[in-house]
């Protein structure tokens, strides 16, 4: 048996489609803690199905009983509007507070990450966003941005970090409207998250991390400020590239001296892609690692062992990275984390 065939793993396209379709219909009860984030789970599943070309064949809808319009309607049912008591418009993660999303239920504040997920998913499903309350979402951002430039995710307060800066940037970029944010303050905040070893932490002074590094660099790219920032901080780009490539063992680790995890293929891979340096990775070795994390019944787990079953997050981000190089997969936009071709189509229609 040759070495290459022992590492060669067949891409289980049909199993993956079955996995994501199943997730859209029902999730096991141990996902209860993600009840408030259902929209993000739908986003992962829909983007993944698009990568796999599921939506290219209309007969799939019948075969797998998936109804695009139903998903679109469900997403719109989670839209909330601004009011005297509701400072963040946008989308909520699910109907966990009951069906009333009108003014009466002030607890139902729009959640920044759910708004991002909703917009990305709607576009990938071919929706034109005409029913999205763009003005309210953009003006809500003023209530979510903090004096240090960071963002909380809901009107009544939450932890603030680079994840929500990224969500805000993606929303502004997609809707083509930055009037609701203080860009300079955002820039300051991102810069304050630079670590001594060249990457970005989730909050200032914290440890360099693959996820936060992606959020910060993608945010800078979406703002169109990447080149300026690198001009200002001489040597930072080089340090950043070194940090990113140093995360590769076979697979990618999220932090120095931590274990490899498939989702970092995307967080780090996409960061390098934004910097035009993705070619510096050993893609063959990384591909072996990611492909080896495929589950027999579809999806990808974070590592290649029997203790970690596949989950939506790792399945999506594994596919997202694979989509950069596998010709039969529809690529993900490395700045937006959503279907590249659908975003391009949406953009063309807007213009």
């Amino acid at each position: 048996m040759s070495t290459s065939s022992s590492f060669e793993t067949v891409f289980k396209r049909v199993s993956h489609i079955q996995y994501f379709v199943q997730c859209l219909k029902k999730l096991p009860s141990k996902h209860a803690a993600l009840d408030t984030n259902r929209l993000t789970l739908v986003h992962f599943a829909v983007q993944s199905l698009d990568i796999l070309g599921f939506f290219d064949s209309p007969e799939n809808f019948k075969t797998y009983s998936i109804n695009k319009e139903e998903i679109i309607e469900w997403i719109y049912s989670l839209q909330v509007t601004s009011s005297a008591t509701r400072t963040s418009a946008g989308f909520i993660g699910g109907s966990f507070l009951g069906p009333d999303v009108d003014d009466g239920n002030y607890c139902n504040q729009g959640h920044l990450a759910m708004t991002y997920s909703a917009i990305c998913t709607l576009i990938t499903l071919g929706d034109d966003l005409k029913r999205v309350n763009r003005k309210e979402i953009i003006s809500s951002l003023k209530y979510l941005q903090q004096s240090d430039g960071s963002f909380q995710c809901v009107g009544y307060g939450s932890e603030c970090d680079l994840r929500f800066v990224y969500c805000a940037c993606a929303i502004c970029y997609i809707l083509g409207d930055w009037s609701g944010v203080d860009k300079d303050a955002m820039l300051q905040y991102i810069q304050s998250c630079r670590t001594y070893d060249g990457a970005l932490s989730l909050v200032p002074n914290q440890e360099s991390h693959g996820g936060s590094t992606y959020c910060g660099i993608a945010s800078l790219a979406l703002m169109g400020e990447l080149d300026q920032v690198f001009l200002h901080f001489d040597g930072w780009k080089e340090d950043l590239v070194r940090w990113c490539v140093s995360r590769q063992m076979e697979g990618m680790q999220g932090r120095p001296n931590k274990l490899e995890d498939t989702c970092y293929s995307y967080w780090i891979g996409a960061t390098l892609k934004i910097l035009d340096c993705e070619y510096l990775l050993d893609r063959d070795v990384l591909r072996c690692f990611v492909m080896g994390c495929q589950s027999g019944t579809g999806g990808f787990s974070k590592v290649r062992d029997e203790y970690h079953p596949p989950d939506l997050l790792h399945s999506f981000y594994s596919l997202a990275w694979l989509s950069f190089s596998r010709k039969e997969l529809h690529p993900i936009d490395c700045m937006l984390g959503m279907s590249s071709r659908h975003f391009d189509a949406f953009r063309r229609n807007v213009v």
């Binding site: 070893d197 002074n205 440890e207 590239v241 590769q248 932090r255 001296n257 931590k258 510096l280 050993d282």
Partner: protein
């Protein structure tokens, strides 16, 4: 922003505890619970003012315990950690009281919270949430005694695992007293380099101390560039690095070039020195890493060698 008031906040409070047992990640439930706690809390004086929400002492103690119970099997739950922070925000940030008793009880709370975090880190020494929370406390109380004690805590963690990058990051935070505008004092830099080298010696393959080492020197470079103090520091550092490599080769009978993070650090130092010989050595090292010693990163090292060549010319 004025939210509607409740008729029976005590009952609402009970219900939130029930709901949280079903889903401790429901951020709306946590927020609603804090609304109930706040409405049931009475500030110490009638003219009490703070930019943070006031919670009564007994509520703080009780809810920290609730958060510990719910956080136990969910150590990576953002909402539970945020709840802890919300409970403590007002008393920690307003800790400027002249009264010994008042300060004393808050200090006790600080110690208990740091101990709780240490307990979480004992089970997972790299829990990102735990470290964020710990950093928040140290920065907000900003007590010299706590910064000093933290160095001891970090040293214990590094004794247990010299590869703990979170502990290294914490060391950077603490030695800079939580501020990016307070670079490492020049006099103390040599001593810190000695500490880092002693740790690097334990495992020269370990990335963490080498990145810390390079960052230390880069910071000094930005401060004192081509001054004699910097030249002397860099020479000391280069010699220390070479000594670690030689000792490793002697003891292990292996090629020191395999310690790619050590070599990468050496390349960074040589680049900082910037003279023709140093740059030429740096290019040589990069080419060796590319061609033989760091195959996964060979494209990166090729690029690095090219970039160094450009500087040399």
């Amino acid at each position: 922003m004025n939210f509607p008031t409740f008729d029976i906040p005590e009952r609402a409070l009970e219900l939130t505890a029930l709901c949280l047992r079903f889903n401790p990640a429901n951020y709306t439930t946590w927020w609603f619970r804090r609304q109930c706690l706040a409405s049931l809390s009475t500030p110490p004086t009638s003219d009490f003012e703070s930019k943070y929400t006031y919670f009564s002492e007994n509520f703080i103690a009780n809810d920290l315990m609730l958060a510990s119970k719910l956080g136990g099997s969910n150590p990576k739950n953002y909402q539970v950690w945020y709840h802890r922070r919300n409970l403590l925000e007002q008393s920690f940030s307003d800790m400027t009281s002249d009264s010994d008793t008042e300060c004393g009880s808050v200090l006790e709370l600080v110690n208990e919270e740091l101990e709780y975090i240490a307990g979480v880190l004992d089970k997972d020494s790299k829990n990102y949430h735990a470290w964020s929370h710990r950093q928040w406390i140290l920065k907000i109380i900003n007590m010299e005694s706590k910064w000093t004690a933290e160095i001891e805590y970090i040293n214990d963690l590094l004794e247990a695992d010299v590869r703990n990058n979170s502990a290294w990051n914490q060391r950077w935070l603490v030695s800079h007293r939580g501020s990016k505008s307070k670079p490492f004092p020049v006099e103390a830099a040599s001593e810190e380099v000695n500490f880092v080298i002693s740790k690097a010696r334990e495992d020269p393959y370990n990335e963490s101390p080498w990145r810390y080492f390079v960052a230390l020197i880069k910071e000094q470079f930005r401060l004192i560039a081509s001054s004699p103090e910097f030249v002397s520091l860099v020479d000391t550092c280069e010699n220390a690095l070479k000594e670690v490599k030689e000792k490793f080769e002697l003891e292990s009978k292996k090629d020191g070039m395999e310690c790619t993070h050590l070599i990468a650090a050496h390349i960074d130092i040589l680049e900082m020195k910037g003279d023709e010989d140093s740059l030429s050595s740096a290019v040589e090292f990069a080419i060796l890493l590319e061609s033989r010693y760091d195959p996964v990163r060979k494209k990166y090292w090729k690029l690095r060698a090219q970039q160094l060549q450009v500087v040399a010319n």
